[in-house]
């Protein structure tokens, strides 16, 4: 984990922020946001694009699938926020949701058995990112994703 006191994604110039219902259907719109980021930053390399997009979608997919499962809230009140930004040396995303606190040890995210059909999301995001941070702040979960551009992660 690096923690270098850089501003979070939701404080960066040029950031894109979306707030929307936490539903599977929203995925395509978030892919569209990421595509917009590539349009406005044509110099970002293909590997950085691939690992950033995949990690964002994994973390969002987990929110949609797991953050509300045991809760008794009405689906219409389940919302998430996402902020995305690119700077000269990094790609950052912050995802926030109003779901249950997550009792996970991220450092323990390991790839499951080769023939497992699920359970790879967090391990994949951890392997692809330079840093994945999780914090519970108030009644919200915050996920901070960092790709250092051109790093070997």
């Amino acid at each position: 984990m690096t923690d270098d006191q850089q501003p979070a994604a939701d404080a960066l110039v040029g950031r894109l922020e979306l707030s929307a219902p936490a539903t599977p259907e929203i995925m395509d719109l978030v892919h569209g946001m990421i595509e917009h980021l590539w349009t406005t930053h044509p110099d970002i390399g293909e590997r950085d694009r691939a690992r950033f997009e995949m990690s964002v979608i994994e973390i969002l997919g987990n929110i949609v699938e797991h953050a509300y499962a045991a809760e008794e809230t009405h689906p219409s009140t389940r919302r998430f926020q996402i902020a995305l930004a690119a700077t000269e040396d990094r790609l950052v995303a912050r995802l926030a949701d109003n779901g249950l606190p997550v009792g996970l040890d991220l450092s323990g995210a390991v790839m499951p058995d080769e023939l497992a059909e699920s359970g790879r999301g967090l391990a994949l995001a951890t392997a692809a990112l330079d840093d994945l941070g999780y914090h519970r702040v108030g009644d919200r979960n915050l996920w901070d994703l960092l790709c250092l551009r051109g790093s070997s992660a």
Binding site: D28, E46, G61, E65, E117, S118, R120, L124, A128
Partner: protein, 111 residues
Amino acid sequence: MIEFAVETRDDGIGVVTPQGRLNMVSARRLKEILSELVAGGTHRIVVDLGETTFLDSSGLGALIGGLKSARQSGGDLRIARVSPAVMTVFELTNLDRVLRARDSVDSAFDD
């Protein structure tokens, strides 16, 4: 947004081509398509990833599910025409060994 082209060739090999992004939503449909193919007697399947612009762990899960049911029926599932972006996901999960990428659909069952 995604479309799936599904075709069964004269030699009995099924070819599934996901056109677009394979994420949580579309992986469910891929899983169904692969199950139906195997249930319908098509046990050798090539998934042509040449038009797949994105893949995540749920897409991988659907492919592994298809691989297992094809093998249980005495067949196999192979992947072909993997782009560098999608290849990254296979490498990061070490699934590039379980699902070795083939250069073309036609040669996917040559060995």
